[in-house]
């Protein structure tokens, strides 16, 4: 076994890096893959919250790097999936507490035991991003269909290429079909034309994401959520399966609604 190391990054903050990392990790774990996700947002950790593991933290990333514990002591086993682990960030330190080299060493030390290692990158293009991208085999850029997020995504794609981790793949998050229809949101095609990288998935705007985040239950576990379905599809694609893209315009699939009426779902 040798893990595929994927860094999830965006440049801009608040576009959904942590949510995506959590959901893709859970999606892959649900498929039986052995997954470790690493929160590299030192000082602003929240991947543990989204995964609902915050009260289980004993050691963190900085403790490992500074030799206060062994790496497997800092790996928190998920309560739902025994093949999913989290290495949390330190909350009381900052990005300078670790170096890119130390991140590489840490990832390599667990690579053989895992199928996937997902790294949640902090926002920005400085040290924190460099730490997150250093060990990556591949980078996923996540953005929202708005002009500023896309501009930052473009910048970060340039930096990924410069770091020789390219070509990155794209997740377009929080697409609201109603707003696109009204012309208030950038069209997916416009975003793709500008960024010119391969699309990994489109995630529709979905209130369930926020609800499940607050509960510490990743939305990918909610079978009724369209965002959850989108994240599941992304996990499948990362695992090498070809899955058709969701029709973002269909608010709710007619056949699905029909089958729900007849109680065929669940």
């Amino acid at each position: 076994m040798s893990a595929h190391i994927i860094t999830i990054t965006s440049g801009k903050g608040g576009v959904g890096k942590t949510t995506a990392t959590a959901n893709i990790s859970v999606g892959l774990a649900e498929m039986g893959k052995k997954v470790t996700c690493i929160d590299s947002d030192i000082g602003l950790r929240n991947l543990d919250v989204v995964l609902g593991l915050e009260n289980r933290i004993v050691y963190d990333l900085v403790d490992v790097v500074e030799g206060r514990c062994k790496v497997n002591q800092a790996m928190i086993r998920d309560k739902r999936f025994e093949n999913l682990f989290l290495i949390p960030a330190a909350q009381t330190r900052d990005k300078n507490a670790i170096t890119p080299k130390e991140m590489v060493t840490l990832c390599e030390s667990i690579r053989e035991e895992m199928d996937f290692i997902l790294i949640d990158s902090p926002a920005g293009i400085e040290g924190g991003f460099k730490n997150a991208i250093a060990p990556a085999d591949e980078a996923i850029v996540i953005t929202n269909p708005d002009v500023s997020a896309v501009r930052d995504a473009d910048r970060i794609i340039g930096l990924i290429e410069a770091a020789e981790k390219g070509p990155a793949r794209l997740i377009l998050n929080r697409v609201n079909p109603e707003m696109v229809k009204r012309g208030d949101m950038m069209e997916s095609d416009d975003v793709l034309e500008l960024l010119a990288i391969k699309l990994l998935g489109i995630v529709p705007d979905d209130d369930n994401v926020l609800i499940s985040t607050n509960k510490g239950q990743p939305v990918v576990l909610n079978e009724k959520s369209r965002a959850g379905q989108a994240f599941k599809n992304i996990a499948e694609r990362l695992n090498g399966k070809e899955v058709p893209f969701l029709d973002i315009n269909a608010k709710d699939d007619f056949m699905k609604r029909l089958s729900r009426v007849f109680g065929k779902e669940n």
Binding site: R155, G158, L194
Partner: protein, 233 residues
Amino acid sequence: MKETSKDNTKDKKKRKEFRIKGIRDVLMVTIEEGEWEDELDDLLEYIKEKKDFFGSAKLAADVGERKLKATQIADLRDGLAEQKINLVAVFTSSAQTKSNARSFGLETEPEAIRITTKNKMQILPDGGENAIIYSHTLRSGTSVNYSGSVMVVGDVNPGAEIIAGGSVLVWGCIRGKVIAGSDGDENAVICALEVKPLEMRIANNEIKKNTKIKNPVKINCQNSELNYTVWKQ
């Protein structure tokens, strides 16, 4: 530090060592804290002694957080030029140094070196004027500042900029900032497959705000006005 030693190998410890790193075909030297003039002398001395290693390399200098005046950067560039070494970039965290370095047409972002040296090549068009080609999209944050002409096979995205003394040819869409004839040359032209720039001008003639041209276009200057030749199918 100024002493010149006769024996290159034995005196090594007394002399200042510089950290040298290779990025593609560019050598990057780190100039540590200290009085700039002294450090500069030491560096030039160091390069002179290791002439075999440096050859006629391209050099990038990391000057840390120093605030350098334009003349100090010129001293570095000229001192290196005397030894046939071409200064291509100055890396710094000081905004002042950065802008002074840019005024000499030097790169200031490490990634610019990585990308540009990979895909950049020099050509000599008619008349012997210099041009550079970028064979990839210029993404946000990329700045190309060149005294000759610039050709891009790809797009120029919002947040990227080209400032060229000569003409600019883009085999793609111009969405960012493009300036041709930056020294006032009204004979410069801009050609692109699609044009919807944030900012664009030839010499001092600015393109109208919100211009969008979806067909291949050549833009030139006539009596200080921009003239558009649009290709239609």
